[in-house]
Symmetry: C2
Amino acid sequence: VTLSLDQYRERFDRVMNLALTNNQVPDRLQDAMRYSALSNGKRVRALLVYAAGFAVNAPIERLDAVACALECIHSYSLIHDDLPAMDNDDLRRGQATNHIQFDEATAILAGDALLTLAFELINAPNSQLTDAQCRLISHKLAIGAGQIGMVGGQTLDILATAQLSSPEQLKDMHLRKTGALINAAVSCGALCAENLNADVLKRLSDFADNIGLAFQVIDDVLDVESNTEQLGKRSKADLALQKSTYPKVLGLEASKQLAQTLYQDAIASIDGIGDNTQHLTELATLVVTRKH
Amino acid sequence: VTLSLDQYRERFDRVMNLALTNNQVPDRLQDAMRYSALSNGKRVRALLVYAAGFAVNAPIERLDAVACALECIHSYSLIHDDLPAMDNDDLRRGQATNHIQFDEATAILAGDALLTLAFELINAPNSQLTDAQCRLISHKLAIGAGQIGMVGGQTLDILATAQLSSPEQLKDMHLRKTGALINAAVSCGALCAENLNADVLKRLSDFADNIGLAFQVIDDVLDVESNTEQLGKRSKADLALQKSTYPKVLGLEASKQLAQTLYQDAIASIDGIGDNTQHLTELATLVVTRKH
């Protein structure tokens, strides 16, 4: 049977809830982790894991731990990015940010614990992955999430505040900050298959880079065009922080056009890898047409 | 040839420096990571990896990545613990803490990047470990460092501030906060051997729990008895934060006696596992006789 994206999402919600249930964890820490990681996100990264895995016939049981790991890392990054010392946001996914709901110390620790949990889940004896897959996936995820990927991108973002970057600098920053984890989601989902073809992995990786960048361009556009209620987080936040954004560097219309081009390049990347790319296409469409 | 602890330490300094050299990392992030991770620490965790590996005849080349991973995680935990929202320390290892030397945002990100790097190093294609070892070690390390281990312990520590805990609560907190990563260091070092005997692993784990707790008892004693110059960090910090400590709960002399008992139990734990336990014994002695 072929699951719909909604059905994948239901499955994900169930396994993620289980992954965040452990009676050995101090209550306050677990409450803070669950507050953010089980909140009403779009789950783009988890769904990309399932969609990429489906495209290459990976067993669905193997995708669960990887999907949870990706969302753990995404959640941790939001918690830390929202901290007063970083973007200082008080609203996220329509609810108070973690450090507002709990406190700064708890928010820092909840983020640290979620990041660590990602690697615990993948390498757990019951994760259904082979040892070789655990290693490849752990490595890919660490590269995407770490110093040259997401954390590196967030560093560049903070350094770039209040200075207008060139389109090239902006692209480099966003490919790291958002693109690296999106790429890890797609690549790690694909790595759950047996005998993955290197060319197919490359095409999926290109797909991910294109929609990762499109995701961020749309994020910048929405920050300008939407209001706080629609976004579930403060709109005009980039402007307030004097951040470099696509609308600022390219203009609003050119930014929207860029997102369309990236979308088309993404779809072209996975042309010919097989008949099971429908979920990837659907997610790419969702990324560029989303309103929040 | 049998290396001395000093020679292991020289080897570690060399591989750690290499592990923290990557020209794709934004300069400011790498500077902050290197500032803390290459500072003049005691390297107890790295040395425990080598000492435990030596005790079970693990090839030294396999221990390098694991030793670096342990110290990456230890460094990250110190950076985050020192943050204003946590213990708010300005001095560590005789130098300004990371967020004082850089800024809070950079310190948070440097910690995040070091934690992630730990899993990158272990699972790297060139880490010399087998796939099965990567999985076991990644899992053990994530358990020790995460929600039920170190991060869980730090949460309990923060919650316990300003309330006198029972000796049992204090032990639980410290077994997590300090003991879990010490245990991970010893266990992961041992897991680098081929065909590790389960009983030997259990004995090494008991050794680690005993010296982990002894380490923290001595830490509490030193906070009372030493001055800031000797410690390289602010003395009397526990008192200032009204933290629950062994001297406060048990008294100073009983705390020193407890450290001795734990030391003897540690030595007894590894009696009979073979002839190569000298480095473990030396490190246990160092833990209870240290003056900073």
